[in-house]
């Protein structure tokens, strides 16, 4: 309903302002409103549920700390999700949890994908989880979140060409995983 939508937008803007001023209850309402979206983004980027919980908490803690820098040029949700992308990407780097370089991924995983052909079909969420990290991150950012290659290249510190190559690789692997 239009009235509810308008009131919802206004109340979110108010909650952002109140949270920036230190109101934790207003911030909790923002968390409740954006938790599912943020957690889904992070989970898909990382490919692990348990890690996603930890990183989602990191995202909201960072958001709380940085709310004073939010000027409202973009919607709060857009700002939060870009922050979530950065936290998720940095989490992998800083913790050195990704032991392979972006461009050196895993023939074994590709092979595993091929072996899945003809096996039981999986849903897209599970298929995304099984992608190599670089291909997964580009796929999630481009095809799920709607980022452009130029933006992805900037966020991930790679060239646009690499982003395009990883996207195609991800899609072809998913095609195999999904048994298309």
């Amino acid at each position: 309903m239009r009235i509810e939508s308008a009131a919802g937008d206004a109340s979110e803007a108010a909650d952002v302002a109140l949270a920036a001023a230190g109101d934790s209850q207003a911030f909790e309402r923002l968390y409740r409103r954006h938790a599912a979206r943020t957690h889904s983004l992070v989970r898909r980027m990382l490919g692990a549920e348990a890690d996603a919980d930890e990183v989602t908490q990191d995202v909201f803690v960072r958001a709380w700390e940085k709310l004073g820098t939010f000027r409202g040029e973009a919607a709060f949700g857009t700002w939060l999700h870009r922050l979530a992308v950065n936290v998720a990407l940095n989490w992998r780097k800083s913790a050195a949890r990704s032991r392979r370089r972006f461009d050196e991924e895993t023939p074994t995983e590709v092979l595993a994908g091929r072996q899945d052909r003809g096996a039981e079909r999986m849903d897209l969420e599970e298929a995304i989880r099984r992608l190599p990290p670089g291909a997964r991150q580009v796929f999630v950012l481009h095809d799920v979140e709607g980022f452009r290659h130029e933006e992805i290249a900037g966020l991930m510190g790679v060239t646009e060409g690499t982003s395009k190559a990883q996207l195609h690789r991800a899609r072809m692997l998913l095609r195999g995983y999904l048994g298309s």
Binding site: A17, L18, A21, D23, Q25, A35, A52, A165, H168, R171
Partner: protein
């Protein structure tokens, strides 16, 4: 796959090719069943990706966040850093307390009337056609008292609060007021509509909550 389109297939599916590149891709696709099938499958993958639903975390993550940001359970406004330290003078606290008391009383009365558990006062026998139904008018009156009180506090503190925050709050209040006006107008046409009654009450609650929090915002040092 070099003899096929390779990465250009994804660019084709995304509509990112033009000119000679697009013409070359279309020419290849016209004669290559394998690439046509791959293009169809990739479109399906992209379509599935765009249709993914968000799923909440399997456990509530808020307690961990609240602990890390120092938010005490049940506390509304917490100090974050020295610049955000809550500074409210005693008169303001007293005034806010009065307003909160009015607010609580209005909520109790409203709950009784709007949920239909109470009996509307027998007065106001002949309400004009343009007036709200009695139970709605009674509830709205209670809300109005609390709202007036809180707006007075906010106006008195206007100069000592962060101007950006105040502008945002005021803009939000205008939208909420518009929603309240529309809900009241709709109730004139359909006084016993439970959805409209609930919507009006929740919108009034929202306004009160916003005003209450704004009135207690820390002073800008």
């Amino acid at each position: 796959m070099d003899e096929h389109l390779g990465e250009r297939l994804s660019a084709y599916v995304d509509g990112a090719l033009d000119g000679e590149a697009l013409a070359a891709a279309e020419a290849h696709l016209a004669g290559c069943a394998e690439c046509r099938a791959a293009a169809q499958d990739l479109r399906r993958v992209v379509g599935l990706a765009r249709a993914l639903d968000d799923r909440p975390p399997s456990r509530d993550l808020w307690p961990g966040i609240a602990e890390r940001i120092g938010a005490a359970r049940g506390a509304g406004v917490v100090p974050l850093a020295p610049r955000r330290r809550l500074v409210v003078s005693l008169p303001q606290l007293i005034a806010a307390g009065v307003a909160l008391a009015l607010f609580s009383a209005s909520l109790a009365g409203t709950a009784v009337h709007l949920l239909g558990r109470g009996t509307a006062p027998a007065a106001v026998a002949a309400a004009p056609e343009t007036a709200l139904p009695l139970h709605v008018a009674t509830a709205a009156s209670s809300y109005d008292a609390a709202i007036d009180e809180l707006e007075g506090i906010l106006a008195a503190r206007h100069s000592e609060l962060d101007s950006t925050t105040i502008r945002t709050v005021e803009a939000s209040l205008r939208v909420i007021d518009q929603a309240i006006a529309q809900a009241r107008a709709a109730l004139l046409r359909d006084p016993n509509n439970p959805y409209l009654n609930g919507h009006l009450r929740s919108t009034l609650d929202r306004k009160l909550d916003l005003l209450r929090r704004a009135a207690l915002l820390p002073r800008v040092s």
